[in-house]
């Protein structure tokens, strides 16, 4: 078995594979999400009870649209990593694990793509869907 040289930081062994990067990425996403979550709660409070017009007005502000897109994408990144750790812990058969991780990844990608698509349309003030899609 080929192994890289073991590395230690302050007497703690560093992962020989990719565990350290995954650990750091999860913490980085948490750190970014702390202020974004507080903003998201405030945004949710503002939007509550505002109805359709209130929500469309809210999206007219580019700051709101951009912050929402960033919050959504970082949340999905964080969610994908968090769910992966749970699956790694409890699903032990390699085949099942890969399948479940694939489905989780797909779900996150679909939400990300659809979410950004809708946010962009709302921010640009586009006509309600399915306008322009020939339906």
């Amino acid at each position: 078995m080929s192994r890289e040289a073991k590395a230690y930081i302050k007497g703690v062994k560093v992962s020989e594979r990719h565990g350290a990067e995954e650990w750091a990425a999860e913490r980085l996403s948490s750190l970014i999400l702390v202020p974004l979550t507080l903003w998201g709660l405030w945004a949710g409070f503002t939007l509550s009870g505002g109805g359709y017009e209130g929500a469309r007005d809210w999206f007219a502000s580019p700051v709101n649209a951009v912050l929402l897109a960033v919050t959504l994408l970082v949340s999905l990144w964080h969610m994908n990593m968090g769910l992966k750790v749970i699956v790694d812990d409890y699903i032990h058969r390699p085949g099942s694990r890969s399948a479940i991780l694939g489905l989780i990844g797909l779900l996150c990608l679909v939400i990300a793509a659809a979410g950004v698509f809708f946010i962009v349309r709302l921010a640009l003030g586009s006509a309600p869907l399915p306008a322009g899609f020939g339906i």
């Binding site: 948490s30 409070f45 009870g49 359709y52 769910l83 749970i86 939400i111 659809a114 309600p128 869907l129």
Partner: protein
């Protein structure tokens, strides 16, 4: 728990393990996993850590609902009215309250974990106090959020 399988006991055979009691190490050898949840005596740091996982999983549902909210809004006033009709029903509000609670708990718990990951607050006493603080803060935050929502008339039952 035996660390080596008894012969003839297939449920204890690490080569075909479906119980999750064994894990295949990178060197290819099956090794027993550390004891599962029911073995441990409950303590507050453990409860808070498990709660952080559970609330995180619950928030995945929240991500799907946020995507549905965006979809309903992008499809115009009629679909948005349908969406708010469902979400503004007592059951819908209960779901959103649950998600708010999960979000506040996960936020407070996440900050607690960031403090620990920075190497601070790891003495038994401080770790216990931080666990209690994050759980209490999470519940108080969520309840306060909804009291404000109702008090300001934004949400009506």
């Amino acid at each position: 728990m035996s660390s080596s399988p008894l012969s003839g006991d297939t449920s204890n055979d690490p080569a075909d393990d479906q119980t999750g009691r064994f894990v295949r190490q990178p060197n290819g050898r099956p090794r027993p996993l550390s004891p599962h949840l029911q073995i441990w005596r409950w303590h507050v740091t453990m409860a808070a850590s498990i709660l952080n996982r559970m609330t995180g999983s619950a928030l995945s549902v929240g991500a799907v609902l946020i995507a549905l909210w965006l979809l309903a809004l992008a499809f115009g006033p009629d679909s948005y009215a349908t969406f708010t009709g469902w979400m503004g029903s007592p059951l819908g509000l209960l779901v959103w309250f649950g998600l708010t609670l999960a979000l506040f708990l996960h936020l407070a718990g996440g900050i607690r974990h960031l403090i620990w990951d920075a190497g601070a607050g790891l003495s038994l006493k401080t770790a216990d106090a931080l666990s209690w603080a994050s759980m209490i803060l999470g519940v108080v935050g969520a309840v306060a959020f909804w009291v404000l929502l109702f008090a300001s008339g934004r949400v009506l039952l």
